[in-house]
Symmetry: C2
Subunit: 438 residues, 2 copies
């Protein structure tokens, strides 16, 4: 039956995993919303030239073709490979109808036509949040985003995490002070520093020495190898900053850190880390990475930064923005596989109403309706099965509560309420059921 | 700038529409969940032979091809064109790991590679809900689904609606009694009756006469043209049913109607309508359609029914089910375009905290944090703009409340709270803010 075998690279979840996955999605979206971001959904399909407009040459894209139709040389279409290109196209296209700063989140799948391998997917979910300004965008937004991320990762309960924080201008200014000249060389030097943790000292020195003097390379390596707390790093950076870019970077970093404290983010949840650079070229100021202490092998599970111009390929209007993307599949799927994500049962309902006396079905229906109207998600067991089978079903799906009652109990207006998590069982009047379950 | 022009057939929404759209999605999913259905998400991509296994020959499918890679004769992949084929494949594939009855809902986009035209989309959302039994599935599920749909359409506030209810066995049994023989001919006769409203009497008679005697055709037409209330139809059907199929259909219909009342669905929300047949061949018992009284031109916006065997192409196990699908794009997009859907502003937040004194930003941040911690979604205006511009922004986005305060007020622990819907404004102590907004 090969036609129902999984397609490699298109992961899908069993119910209990799916519920846990959606539990996480809900935490993310409700937190985004609590900060005033709106949901936005763009089609999964964009024109190929839209997707390729922003330097996606290295990505493999799933093109679309209509089956059972002659090839008519129609314009090529393809599935999106990230949520940023569609955002840029959207903001450029609907510019006149949007209110700026434009705050949106987008949680959805993206597709990449690459060969699947462990930890790489051909369809995966991202949860992006961005603020786009019209011409300018205040630096306080650079602090609001990690404050949101802090709340989300606290609620996700995946253990300790650190939001790493830097500013590209700090790295750029530092490298210029070491005598590195030109955008290309400065970018190359930043990449070396970004890989500091993964490379042996000799190799780092050798690579830096192609871009600056040996003395400066040595100084650079020692500088970034320092370990400081947040305030000490800011002081250290302020002390050595000489050129304007460096000074501006330090000032921005100081302002973002100050605003983070104001927003209630504790000092041990983030780390000023002048060595992080982010691979993507379009970041121009603040940059973020997020690592889970218990799962360093996942790398950064939530990254982003400030960019000067979101949609330059689509419009002449300057649209600065700042954004963060949680790689939700990349984060959760390996942890689900390793049983590291708290599961909440294979049900979204809290209560299962069992049916002992089939002729009394209206009485059981009434119970379920009362609970639902009180906002308590409730499933009814409608198959004609004996109570033990119904209990087994409740147990397997992970309901927290079951309700059961025989004809005598129903006649007296009482039911049995059992908490399957604690094993506790009590006879309770129908009228007290809602309060007891709330 | 042609590369940012919309792609015909891939609709996308402006923020206020998107919020309204998601508002509806939330109503649907929370109601599904309150009935104990779990969310389930399958990849947007399935094998072509999986998609074609269930009679999709008439559908145009978007095939995928990897761009920038040599054609390697890899297995063809395509985007799903509905949510039912993936469900069948899923249940067959994961049969041993699911609890039956398996209750799931799936809200997501599907794709069709057809030529777009008014009211037809190449990507559109469906909100499907199904219960799948293992071998058997009790008839009460056929009543639970329309009870859920009743709650959803009540909450959607799109005016009056009617859930049309029938049972295929009623139609089959009736046609057999008129002398129509063979599955094909009975199906053809059902299709004629299904089109009764749209065709002139003479044409209906002519078509029926090819399948039965002229007398019987006349009788058939008169029978289905009758107008009865629900109970009268059930009585009428019971009276004339002679063969076993007909009798079973009537008994099932009676049971479903009885359970609907028990589940609290009022008599005027549904209509026993022996003339509806549903085009799709795989329904075998109960069938549903849903029409909005104010928008008959939309046709049925929510349809479904009972099927004997969900996944016969993928497994030998008999998996009976009953399901309903809300065509959420087909329902909402035309109504949004015609300004018929209540909008809730271009924001998910209730409150905008404005910033009058930039040096007092920590005090404003604190206000926003207090509100968020109380569960009140709150946005802060972080751009350095004068208050009138901030008010204009709040007004355009449709916030219900704004908060503003100058340095003196902040020092005294008070703020101004303005309800933008009523124009009402009051000075209020910071400590009373949450209670006042709840």
């Amino acid at each position: 039956m090969s036609k129902i075998a999984p397609i490699s690279g298109f992961p899908e979840l069993l119910p209990a995993e799916q519920v846990a996955f959606n539990h996480a999605l809900n935490i993310i979206s409700s937190t985004y919303q609590s900060f005033g971001f709106i949901p936005l959904d763009t089609p999964a399909v964009e024109r190929v030239d839209t997707l390729l407009a922003k330097g996606a040459e290295e990505k493999e894209i799933y093109g679309l073709r209509r089956i059972q139709a002659e090839d008519e040389g129609a314009k090529e279409l393809a599935l999106r490979f990230d949520l940023t290109v569609p955002l840029a196209r959207y903001v450029a296209q609907h510019y006149g109808q949007l209110n700026f700063p434009f705050r949106r989140y987008h949680i959805g799948p993206v597709w990449r036509g690459e060969r699947p391998q462990k930890g790489r997917y051909r369809q995966f979910y991202q949860a992006d949040i961005d603020v786009i300004g019209d011409g300018t965008l205040d630096l306080y937004h650079d602090a609001e985003l990690p404050a949101i991320i802090y709340q989300i990762f606290t609620k996700l309960e995946l253990g300790k995490f650190t939001i790493r924080l830097n500013n590209r201008k700090v790295l750029q200014g530092f490298m210029a002070q070491q005598g590195v000249e030109g955008t290309e060389n400065i970018a190359a030097a930043m990449r070396v520093i970004d890989d500091l943790e993964k490379m042996p000292r000799e190799k780092v020195l050798a690579q830096l020495s192609t871009l600056m003097s040996a003395d400066n390379a040595d100084h650079t390596l020692n500088f970034f190898a320092q370990s400081h707390d947040n305030q000490a790093w800011l002081t250290e950076l302020e002390k050595i900053a000489e050129n304007d870019v460096f000074k501006q970077g330090v000032a921005e970093l100081q302002a973002v850190v100050g605003a983070l404290y104001t927003l209630g983010v504790p000092d041990d949840a983030f780390k000023v880390d002048p060595a992080i650079a982010r691979g993507l070229g379009y970041y121009t100021g603040t940059i973020y990475e997020t690592v889970l202490h218990d799962y360093p092998e996942l790398g950064s599970v939530c990254s982003g930064g400030r960019y000067d111009n979101l949609a330059e390929k689509f419009t002449n209007k300057p649209l600065p923005g700042v954004g963060i993307s949680i790689g939700i599949s990349r984060l959760l799927l390996p942890l689900l596989e390793a049983d590291k994500v708290p599961l909440h049962g294979a049900t979204m309902a809290k209560v299962l109403v069992t049916v002992q006396e089939r002729e009394a079905l209206p009485a059981y229906f009434e119970l379920a309706t009362i609970l639902r109207e009180a906002g308590i998600a409730t499933e009814m067991f409608l198959e004609p099965k004996k109570l033990p089978k119904q209990l087994k079903y409740a147990d397997k799906k992970g309901f927290q509560y079951i309700i059961f009652a025989n004809a005598d109990e129903l006649a007296a207006g009482n039911v049995q309420l059992k908490n399957l998590h604690t094993g506790e069982q009590q006879e309770i009047a129908k009228a007290d059921l809602v309060e007891s379950l709330k």
